[in-house]
């Protein structure tokens, strides 16, 4: 923290412009959103009579250019030095109007925003008169605060031109690449021991029909070629300290146990006595405790599954000397970064036991498993076989784990059903249907769906092509999910799917099949730990929440932490890449200049009031945010509290304990609140609400 900034802070607080408040009050109709309920003209008129209010206007759109111009003109021409605006939510336009003030030459913090839309007109539409009165009181409170407001300067901090990308899937890789090419340092951490995430497990990606892994490989190669990117696989974030521009992140890396590659890898795997479910193939095959995640995985080479390894040492015997070290320990290190990209990805929905026959019948698999099954490098070498027999009849059931209905579907652990659409499963299923047709030209393929959501560019072509490929479509009613059951002993096909088909006027259709594929939806990867570390929050669908879906779709409420890819919600590869790039653009804009500006909402000590009681230091929960310093003046030494703004997050705990009222959080001062409370409770001058 450079000293001059602290001084500037202190100055800003200590020497407010000593001038009479001249307050400009503006009431926005919001194109009727507010104006239809609240009589904005009357609000402005009434407020105009309050002391210190120089102008009071109402306008159709305050946020529009003419609206903003009106404010700027008043500042310049009428000497307005405080602005109070009643408009939509503070989260939408506080910044907009601050910039207006700034452009007009006024300190942007001499502004107070009253939410008249979300908190008045939209919730009191039945009582317009009371809503108008409430608007007046809320605005009057704003005016009261404005009278006491002081100009503030943002805290300017140096920032590391270094970003941390968490997650080495396609979104993380894409973000890292963009950031690095922009000239920023990037640290990429990936929990597993290989890069590529879920995309590596796909057989093919739509809408280009490219094979997934070669496409991914090209991206990984580009990432590896960037000198600015440092990659840590097997690594997880263990903790973080700091703030935007200046995070110190602790990373814990699991060892691979194997150093590099060597020729006899297969032999090493063969001797390992431990057999485990292979996650890469979604359990369709097994692997050893020393294994290669998949054939062309990056980084190459074997990995030890520490959880299941018994350290029997068989592999060490077979491997070349020194290549395997079973005693390797996890280690921790820290990186200093300016911003964090969360690209933590998704996991496929795991159906409940018995949900459409899942786990109850071995012939029921999920769509990700089908990807593995049809993959030439998959457990059946790409042959469409199940249990050793060619699959001749297959049904793909859509919306398993998506678009769930309360009361029809079983809820997750948190009591909620997945009522969202997972976006990718329709086209993914359709593309798989065409792939099945290629592999098994005579197979009977059924797609059992609610709505076909082939929304994206070229997606509809998959639907058309599946139809032309003689895939039979059946449409089920949301309330009546298809039933999967065991066929008779003698039946040719092991399973029966029963659907009430909307397209066949509600007829009940029975389909004998060899394999049922559940098109499972997406769920976010469990990242509770990261949410706690970075203080980001999930939405009601459990995916990480953006600030505003339209205005700021990749940013979180925490400055310096952005979202990329499916951590935020279901997306396909193209959308993940676009989102990841957008996240990179935001990070670049934030830290590219090697400095970050922060809101000045930090604790401030009034040295005249402070008696050096030290109460504040005792309660401060932040490290090195406030301390007692000894000063000497005129031969008298005394102690005063001093704040380090970069470390203070403005929690205000110190404010409430100060016996001398010497402390305040800048911008949110206690005396301002007292004035606001008084203003709301006070009588309204010349209020003619009854008229």
């Amino acid at each position: 923290m450079p000293e001059e900034n602290v001084n500037k802070q202190a100055q800003a607080g200590q020497n407010p412009k000593d001038e009479e408040p001249r307050i400009g009050v503006y009431v926005c109709n919001c194109g009727g959103n507010i104006g239809d309920v609240v009589k904005c003209d009357m609000v402005a008129q009434t407020l105009g009579k309050l002391p210190n209010v120089t102008v009071a206007h109402s306008n159709m759109f305050m946020c529009s250019d003419p609206g903003q111009k009106m404010i700027a003109d008043d500042i310049k021409e009428k000497g307005i030095n405080r602005v109070v605006i009643g408009a939509c939510s503070i989260f939408l336009h506080e910044q907009t109007f601050r910039r207006t003030l700034e452009r007009a030459g006024l300190n942007p913090y001499l502004y107070y925003h009253v939410g008249l839309r979300e908190q008045v007109s939209w919730v009191h539409h039945g009582t317009p008169k009371e809503a108008t009165e409430k608007s007046i009181r809320m605005m009057a409170a704003g005016i009261a605060k404005a009278r006491n407001m002081k100009p503030l300067e943002p805290v300017r901090l140096p920032a590391h031109r270094h970003a941390l990308v968490i997650g080495g899937g396609v979104a993380g890789l894409r973000s890292a690449l963009d950031l690095a090419r922009r000239g920023l340092q990037v640290t990429l951490v990936e929990k597993s021991h290989y890069l590529g995430g879920r995309m590596a497990q796909w057989e093919r990606v739509f809408p280009t029909n490219e094979e997934a892994r070669p496409l991914l490989k090209r991206l990984i190669d580009q990432v590896l070629a960037e000198p600015n990117i440092t990659i840590h696989t097997g690594a997880q974030v263990a903790g973080a300290k700091g703030y935007v521009g200046n995070y110190t992140v602790t990373i814990r890396q699991q060892p691979r146990g194997v150093r590099g590659t060597f020729p006899n890898e297969q032999g090493v795997m063969d001797v390992c006595p431990i057999k485990q479910r292979c996650e890469f193939n979604y359990g369709l095959s097994t692997r050893k405790a020393i294994y290669r995640p998949y054939k062309e995985c990056v980084p190459e080479g074997l990995v030890i599954d520490w959880e299941h390894c018994t350290k029997c040492g068989e592999c060490v015997q077979v491997a070349p000397e020194g290549m395997i070290n079973l005693e390797e320990e996890a280690h921790e290190f820290t990186v200093e970064v300016g911003a964090v990209v969360l690209a933590t990805g998704f996991q496929p929905y795991e159906p409940f036991y018995g949900e459409m026959g899942w786990k109850e019948y071995p012939e029921v698999i999920t769509l990700p498993q089908l990807h593995r099954l049809l993959d030439d490098e998959g457990p059946s070498d790409g042959k469409f076989y199940w249990n050793g027999h060619p699959v001749r009849n297959v049904a793909l059931i859509h919306c398993v784990g998506s678009r769930q209905v309360e009361g029809v579907h079983r809820a997750q652990m948190d009591g909620e059903v997945n009522n969202y659409c997972s976006r990718v499963c329709c086209t993914a299923s359709l593309s798989m249907a065409s792939l099945i047709r290629q592999k098994a030209p005579d197979a009977k393929i059924y797609e059992i769906y609610e709505d076909i959501r082939a929304y994206g560019r070229w997606h509809e072509d998959y639907y058309t092509r599946a139809s032309k490929n003689n895939v039979t479509f059946l449409r089920y009613y949301a309330e009546e999910i298809p039933e999967v059951r065991r066929a008779d002993e003698k039946a040719e096909n092991p399973l029966l799917v029963k659907v009430r088909d909307h397209l066949t006027w509600g007829e009940e259709i029975e389909i004998p099949v060899d394999l049922v594929v559940l098109s499972v939806g997406m769920m976010p990867n469990p990242v509770q730990d990261l949410m706690e570390i970075f203080k980001v929050t999930p939405g009601s669908d459990r995916f990480l929440l953006e600030v505003h879906p339209k205005l700021r779709p990749v940013e979180t409420a925490v400055n310096g932490v952005v979202l990329a890819g499916t951590a935020q919600g279901p997306m396909n590869i193209q959308e993940s890449c676009a989102a990841a790039s957008a996240a990179a653009a935001k990070v670049s804009a934030l830290i590219e200049q090697a400095k970050v500006e922060l809101e000045p909402y930090v604790a401030h000590v009034d040295p005249d009031q402070c008696q050096g009681s030290g109460e504040c230091v005792k309660v401060c929960p932040q490290e090195e945010a406030i301390e007692l310093k000894t000063f000497s003046e005129n031969g008298r030494t005394f102690q005063r509290a001093v704040v380090t703004p970069a470390n203070c997050n403005g929690c205000g705990v110190c404010v409430s304990v100060c016996p001398n009222r010497a402390l305040d959080v800048q911008g949110w001062r206690l005396d301002e609140y007292e004035a606001m409370v008084e203003a709301i409770a006070a009588d309204i001058p010349a209020w003619e609400g009854a008229a």
Partner: protein, 160 residues
């Protein structure tokens, strides 16, 4: 009925944190749900800045119920939730001295998407005021002024 009485109906103050309750309140607005207009929401960065005196003063100035809507343990501020709870507890003590029903002050954890809990909190406060009426002002120690019986709002205002 005089305009004064009509204007000075019971008032509820909601101190809502910008990272929690205030967004929740916005969410209620976006859902176009309805709640009574005598609720006044003030945005606060952190609920821990208010000393007990602030609450007592607010009751004195004309509020009849106060709900602090903070983010609870989800708060972005370390220490906010414990400290706030501490302060509120301390305030209860002072309210008792002033013969103020402690139910008038509540601390509620309201998240950014807590639409239903928000509405429930508002309803609870409304119901409480229906039951126990407005705050008798000015606030004094119980021995000075006998407890006001719960009556109509207008009656209380006239009494003052």
């Amino acid at each position: 009925m005089s305009t004064e009485t009509e204007n000075r109906s019971a008032k509820i103050l909601l101190l809502a944190t910008l990272s929690g309750g205030y967004r929740g309140a916005d969410m209620v607005g976006q859902g176009h749900m309805d709640y009574p207009p005598n609720t006044y929401i003030l945005p606060v960065m952190s609920a821990a800045i208010f000393p007990p005196k602030f609450y007592i003063d607010a009751f004195n100035k004309g509020f009849d119920a106060i709900t602090v809507m903070y983010s609870g343990t989800d708060s972005p501020y370390k220490g906010e939730s414990e400290k706030t709870a501490e302060i509120i507890n301390e305030t209860y003590g002072k309210m008792k001295e002033l013969n103020l029903d402690p139910r008038r002050l509540r601390l509620a954890a309201i998240c950014t998407v807590c639409v239903r809990p928000f509405l429930e909190e508002v309803q609870r406060a409304e119901k409480l005021l229906e039951e126990i009426g407005s705050v008798p002002r000015p606030l004094t120690k119980p021995q000075a002024v006998p407890a006001q019986p719960a009556g109509t709002q207008g009656g209380i205002f006239h009494a003052n």
